[in-house]
Symmetry: C2
Subunit: 545 residues, 2 copies
């Protein structure tokens, strides 16, 4: 059986794509005008420099062209632009694929010995530069955890399952399903991202409103450091100093290489149900979600699209003519002129799901919402992992697209939403192009929620990354100024590293850098990732303590 191949210069499977409906094309043309399509170079046209000499590494090491190219970067917008146009600038000198924790430790020791930089890679789906090789003076190895796979141990009574860190999303669920269990962590990258990557980047899943972020799902960890194996066995709770598992969650490889994780799992739900509701506006949508989270029962999935995302979502959806007629009739109502789609899903025992749905219905009815039945929810379920393919389709059609996410307390969300939209629109306007900034709320909490922005613009050939940076910077500044976090679940990578200090303070960065220095004194792990460039763990350019 031939293994399905991943696309070398874009998202997902090479044999999969999504169509761009004519209605979406019309929406984009009207809102943004036409842009210049981004050409696609062939994989063989990319020119790789000769690999620099490396010491013998104590694990399988691949030095071929394909391995070096396909492990050169992640899937951030700039990554994809340089891949597609065939001009990536930096490549690993080799790709190392250890098969055990002991091999990882040995590779790290060899790297320290020979002063080789090590880029730790799980599924390689980082959209923030977390696995992008940078041109540096040191030889660089990508340490890919793709062979550290599988379920290691299952403690059914405690609902704990230990996985090797390279295990991908579908394999996690497949390993648990025979025991009628699930993890339920389903980021949009689910098919391609790994347990270790989720933990290293503090990821969230589409069901994290119900099951919790990865932060909450980690009970135990095993980490390889140049000094040996660091084990933090599973515990439900403790007061033995700060929770060091939480120091590793989000550490993006700077404190060591996560090789195994014990995760909190749960029984497969007996039943699921979903709903889509049209509410009169964005504020109403936020209020409905807040009420759901604060009074409960909490749905497993909560999403509210703002008016622009609702509008683009409709343009993206091909429906039969009769359904479209009914839809347009509803949207024509004055009350739904700035209507927002709310998507909900419940999971659990049948009677609990019924009660939860009834409780939610009371809330959305009080808010003037109109239930749209289960079809939009079923469509979301079917399509939810396919959206990222749109980026490649849009690039070919002349439009750039990227996403970013933040989170803030409920009281700050509306202003934050407005500030980001305003900043990005103004930045584009000043550079004489247009942008569409769409947003949905997802991942809701009792005290706040995350906002996920999708932004589109017409491409100018040769300046794609410049346009992207302009918009990204404008959004990042607006987020930090409005009290939002610079990232809710994509991580810091290299792209947000310069914002970290404004979010966690000089003291926070100093504490984190000191911890990294203690565990990786030679600074071989993921240089440039997470910590601001001025604070390298090897002490060069080290700020005041």
């Amino acid at each position: 059986m031939q293994q399905r191949q991943r696309r070398w210069n874009g998202w997902g499977w090479a044999d999969e794509t999504v169509p761009l409906p004519s209605s979406a094309r019309a929406w984009l043309s009207e809102r943004l005008g036409a842009g210049e399509p981004l050409p696609e170079a062939g994989e063989q046209s990319v020119r790789l420099p000769a690999a620099r000499p490396l010491p013998e590494l104590p694990a399988t090491t691949l030095g071929d062209r394909t391995a070096r190219l396909r492990h050169a970067c992640g899937l951030a917008f700039p990554d994809v632009v340089v891949l597609r146009t065939g001009v990536p600038q930096a490549f690993p000198d080799a790709v190392c694929v250890p098969e055990s924790t002991e091999q990882v430790v040995a590779v790290l020791r060899a790297a320290v010995e020979a002063d080789v930089a090590v880029i730790v890679r799980g599924g390689g789906t980082s959209v923030v530069g977390g696995v992008t090789v940078n041109a540096g003076s040191r030889p660089t190895v990508v340490l890919s955890l793709e062979r550290l796979r599988g379920l290691v141990a299952l403690d059914r009574a405690s609902l704990l399952a230990a996985f090797r860190s390279g295990t991908l999303g579908p394999d996690v669920e497949a390993a648990l399903a025979p025991s009628r269990l699930r993890l339920g962590h389903e980021p949009q990258s689910f098919e391609f991202s790994s347990v270790g990557g989720w933990i290293a980047t503090r990821s969230a899943g589409q069901r994290s409103t119900g099951v919790g972020k990865i932060d909450d799902l980690v009970a135990g960890l095993e980490i390889a450091t140049p000094d040996g194996v660091w084990s933090l066995p599973p515990q439900p709770a403790s007061a033995a100093g700060p929770e060091l598992r939480r120091l590793v969650v989000g550490s993006e490889g700077r404190l060591g290489v996560i090789t195994e994780a014990t995760l909190r799992v749960r029984p497969l739900p007996e039943c699921r149900d979903g709903a889509a509701v049209l509410v009169p506006g964005w504020s109403t949508g936020l209020e409905v979600c807040r009420a759901l989270l604060q009074t409960g029962p909490v749905p497993e999935v909560v999403r509210v699209s703002d008016p622009d995302e609702t509008s683009f979502g409709i343009a993206l959806t091909e429906v039969p003519r009769v359904a479209a007629g009914v839809r347009d009739l509803i949207l024509g109502m004055r009350r739904f002129h700035r209507g927002c789609i709310v998507l909900l899903e419940w999971a659990g025992a049948p009677q609990d799901v019924v009660l939860a749905r009834q409780a939610a219905a009371r809330i959305w009815q009080d808010a003037g919402g109109l239930a749209l039945g289960r079809t939009p929810w079923r469509r979301w379920l079917a399509e939810r992992f396919r959206h990222p393919y749109l980026r490649d389709v849009l690039l070919s059609a002349g439009w750039g697209v990227d996403t970013l996410e933040t989170a803030a307390p409920w009281s700050a969300l509306e202003a934050l939403h407005g500030a980001v939209r305003h900043a990005m629109t103004a930045a584009a306007e000043a550079a004489a192009f247009r942008t569409a900034v769409l947003c949905h709320l997802s991942h809701a909490y009792r005290d706040g929620a995350s906002l996920y922005f999708t932004w589109l613009w017409p491409l100018r050939r040769g300046d794609e990354i410049g346009q992207w940076r302009l918009l990204k910077d404008a959004a990042s500044e607006a987020i930090v100024a409005s009290g939002g976090t610079i990232t809710h679940h994509h991580g810091v990578g290299t792209m947000h590293a310069s914002y970290l200090e404004r979010e966690v303070g000089t003291s926070g960065v100093a504490a984190l850098a000191a911890a990294a220095r203690a565990l990786d004194p030679h600074g071989v792990l993921n240089p440039g990732v997470l910590l601001p460039p001025s604070l390298r763990p090897d002490g060069a350019g080290r700020g005041k303590p």
Copy 2:
């Protein structure tokens, strides 16, 4: 109005005590034999050395005898023994009571300047040596946060309330009640412990099964360091590097002084209900709790006493003769020979409480449990903050008592329970005295629970602390060897510091010590607390990184 005074040499209010019923006295005499009562010296008999010279501190500073004595230590067993017998060995040279965050920073700067050790103190109820002044070569100031009190800000929409860190439990709830809100964090020290202390020690409350440990309740923090104010504003979630709020939670003053915290609050429940159930044995009790946690709805309070604690609990409770007759009849049933009391409480909307109670009843009935009505629950509610007074009463009666707590996954709990009991019993036996080791499960989670041990022994005059240490060490070794955490909610203090490395590894201690060094490079904050003595942040005796 005269302020109510705290006892200078023991727990709680000076004017409060609890009786030791004759049935309890008989139980102890039978199980342990008689011990030698611990005498009580007068407060005025304690001899204090002259205070060492200090620099002028930029906040109100108290140098009087009473202040120095009453801030010399916490309320651990050894603290109370030396206080009661009038022989404490170390005292602060002064007590500093700042009134603002800025004053705290200024005091820390002055301390660094003059190389003065600073013991940070909230309510002073540490039972693990967290606020005990140690005889050291440096002058020592206790930095008491007792004047940093009150609600600073309330964000009703986001259910967030910011408190100054010296605010005590009752004042937290009193400030929230007019808004129909509560925090719900109710450790046994509730009346005397502070927001900052709860956070610094990773405390749990009696309702933490329902509302979460303090770890989960902290949304934002303000920390004073010698370098200035470190602010981590409230966020519902983030992926901007590791969660540094969680690095501060449990840091026991080593990373800075918590001056303010934004806490996640919730509406006051409309209704509460409780139940007490007798189940046939300890395993059954654990299984009932596990089922409650894993299938839900989760009660707000879950407690199961093991057979010995159930037996002593009955001896402690004076009930009318008829009730006692019925009780003895039930306990005489073969099925309840090793019976265990399960205590449950639910809070919320009336219909939710009813449903939750029904779901729980199905679980305990399936397990052969017998509902005992609401009286034991009401008694627990009325008495729950009074138990710590028993220690002083028992010391006067010739028996020592202390508590310790751990947590582990469900699959490990029974073995852990057995190992701790066996180790302590064997240690006492080897030293030719007897001990009674009682235990209850509290603070349950989906993946495990905490066990809280109460241990009693007959005192030998002059060797009280020796006996205590023997039992404590035996228990600590058994806990660490069985995979339990060395502390679930009391914290590390000085007493558990030597076990930290075995729990979090050399890498964990190295990372933590490095973070402490970064924020407190001169090591003035709480020397000897949390980190093993061999890893001082000032670098002396520093282990390998």
